[in-house]
């Protein structure tokens, strides 16, 4: 008898077939599979239909959107001097160029990965789908602006982005790091365009501009602080550990509003007598930074814990000093692992900037409430319109970023343990 071992047949890797049901059967299976489900479907459909009708009627028929139309600039930048608005446009162009370049380089890197089989090719029209919410917000803004020149300027920004992206694809992947640095330089340049060279200081920034500034500034400044705290929390010195843990647990145990109160009411008192009190924006930023740093520290700590000890041992075996180990081996791996969580924290911060409303800063939510107190709109219940509008802007920003974060998570393979 032949007793040779059989080689297993080579089975090609194919995905399971997609089931596409004819409409009738699909409805029956998905909506009416049991009597309970059927009842649910009918009830929910009725409820949804009614809700969509009411909302649709409100948004497109009943709502008095003049308040948003008239105050669009206020909502976007509030008390920013109108004659300096050109600075914001220039900054937007600079940012479009910088981010376009970054996007182009990223696309190039991605296609290299695809070619070498490390990644799957992106789905069709991915870029457009990814930018969906952002484009929706911009479209809404343009619709309310009702201005031809604004539309042209925005089209120019889009064109700049596309052009920069096309240019970025020519950058060979080995320069990817430098391209990343170029993006950061672009952001810094945009900031300088607005505030330096006779520009507009923080005190006149408001509305959506202030929201974005506080969020970005907050996460950027709190990031190194958070990393230091996380490292300190894992330090082998008990003294350092206790101090870091005490700070982190204290800040995470209290609401953000109390830290903002601390910044707004007390920060001036901590400075030596006779020194200039920082502006309210600066104090709010300090409060947000102190708060976010503790949360970033916890996130980074999780990342540090996820780096296997063997890495450190191997680095020590190679003779790397503790600083080099941290800088070249541990931190890059740790941070890469927690990028999605960090993006999540940024989204939280973006939403939490609305709290500076309570200490008197006029960011997006505050402006939405303020404009209903203008004499021509006072006491007419227009708060619903403005809050819906502000809610839409927040929603679009957060939704877009959370989708990007989920995408990143899938690409980096985080969570697939």
């Amino acid at each position: 008898m032949d007793t040779r071992t059989l080689e297993p047949l080579a089975v090609p890797e194919i995905a399971p077939p997609e089931r596409s049901l004819p409409p009738g059967r699909w409805v029956k299976e998905n909506l009416f599979s049991s009597w309970f489900n059927g009842v649910l479907t009918v009830l929910l459909a009725a409820l949804l239909g009614w809700a969509l009708y009411k909302i649709g009627r409100f948004v497109f028929v009943d709502a008095r959107w003049e308040i948003v139309e008239v105050n669009l600039t206020n909502i976007l930048v509030f008390r920013f001097p109108r004659e300096e608005l050109w600075r914001l446009w220039v900054a937007l162009y600079v940012l479009a160029a910088a981010f376009g370049l970054g996007a182009g380089v990223a696309t190039r890197v991605r296609s290299e990965d695809v070619r070498q089989g490390r990644a799957t090719p992106p789905a069709r029209l991915m870029t457009l789908r990814r930018l969906g919410p952002l484009l929706a917000v911009v479209a809404v803004f343009l619709w309310f602006a009702k201005s031809v020149e604004a539309t042209i300027l925005v089209a120019g920004i889009a064109a700049t982005w596309i052009a920069a992206r096309a240019g970025g694809r020519f950058v060979p992947p080995r320069h990817a790091r430098r391209a990343g640095a170029a993006v950061l330089v672009g952001v810094a340049a945009a900031y300088l365009v607005v505030s330096a060279f006779g520009g507009v200081g923080w005190e006149r920034w408001g509305g959506l501009l202030l929201t974005v500034f506080l969020a970005v500034g907050g996460i950027v400044i709190s990031f190194p602080l958070g990393v230091l705290l996380a490292l300190g929390r894992r330090s082998s010195f008990p003294a350092v550990r206790v101090v870091c843990v005490a700070y982190i647990e204290l800040v995470r145990g209290v609401p953000l509003i109390t830290i903002l109160f601390l910044g707004a009411f007390m920060l001036g008192f901590f400075l030596p007598p006779g020194s200039e009190t920082p502006s309210l924006e600066a104090r709010a930023l300090v409060g947000l930074v102190l708060f976010t740093a503790a949360y970033v520290a916890e996130i980074v700590r999780g990342g540090l814990q996820s780096v296997p000890r063997e890495q450190t041992e191997a680095a020590v075996a190679l003779g790397l000093s503790p600083l080099k180990t941290m800088r070249l081996i541990v931190l890059p791996q740790a941070l890469r692992a927690v990028i999605p969580a960090l993006v999540g924290q940024f989204i939280s911060l973006f939403k939490d900037t609305s709290l500076v409303f309570i200490i008197g800063l006029t960011e997006l939510l505050a402006v939405s409430e303020l404009i209903t107190k203008q004499p021509e709109f006072l006491a007419e219940g227009l708060i619903i319109e403005t809050l819906v509008f502000a809610g839409f802007v927040y929603w679009a920003g957060s939704y877009w970023m959370s989708r990007e974060s989920q995408r990143l998570e899938r690409r980096l393979g985080v969570g697939e343990r």
Partner: protein, 370 residues
Amino acid sequence: MSLIRTLGLRRRPRSTRTGRPTFVGYAVLVAVASLTLAGCLHGGDDGEVNLLDEVKERGTLECGVNDTVPGFGFVTAGGEFQGFDIDFCRAVAAGVLGDPNAVEFQPLTAEQRFTALQAREIDVLIRNTTWTSSRDGSEGATFLTTTFYDGQGMMVRADSDYQELADMGGTTICVLSGTTTELNLESVFRSQGIEYTPLSFEDNDTLQPAFQQRRCDGWTSDKSQLAGIRSAWPQGQGGPDALRILDETMSKEPLGPVVRDGDSGWAAVVDWIVLASIQAEEFGITQANVEEMKQSDNPEIQRFLGQPVEGEAFDPGLGLDPDFAANVIAAVGNYGEIYDRNVGADGLGLERGLNALWTEEGLHYPPPYR
């Protein structure tokens, strides 16, 4: 919890680190130490702050004001600040800097005003603020000459039956948070045994819609504020005739400018600028005739307007130009003109009452300028 772990109640695995402080560790240590040292060495600035010099150097006056009370502090449709308190801000700017428009107005809610003053965000607070002992004592504030003697009143709808406070049992009353009115309402109603529900708001712009929507039955505030709000009541809601201000006065409300504790020089400056406007009315100097009055024969008036009287012009040592009073009057007029323009005959229509000069049975009695 992490605290428990850190305190060593659980053994940590041996780590592979050498335990020597790293370069980063030393760097952090040096940074913290040098920061602290620098701070300690710099902490020599213990003397009194000289806000007058600071304002002169800055070139603008930061004035904390109200932007929701017609007649006192209000923003017109054109975006201009207008009102009784606003005029006094301009007066201070005219007196200190010579330019009544060198003012940055910072609108503040009642809750924010004292913290803004303490945090040095503003130089002076001229925002219909009542002078009380606890504010003088514990808010780090110094109150100056009262510019407006007022009282607290109650405003109700004209179609309601309330004629006096005792009628208002069981009502809901709207009030601004962080004001003396909030406290007075409580003590007056409690002492008379009247049950009520308070509803406190950040600012008038949130309060007014609530009152309009009949969330509350009464609105209590300084009578001058109520008069201003009533005069601006929209016609769509019935206009001023839809509201009634009860006759009863619930408390004394002396309103005046406020500065920070610890700078008596600046306090004196603001005080005497305000007093100058009152003194000008006593002398009969108006915005129109101030230039003419400089040639007056009256040595008192000449001294007041900073004209040389047998030699040098009189300088009381406040740190201002000798003719600061003339600048103030030329910029905003005398007290009577400021009053009439904003809350009097050309404004809300309030009688002078207690706010007249002492010569006319009022309470304004400016000390002599010598």
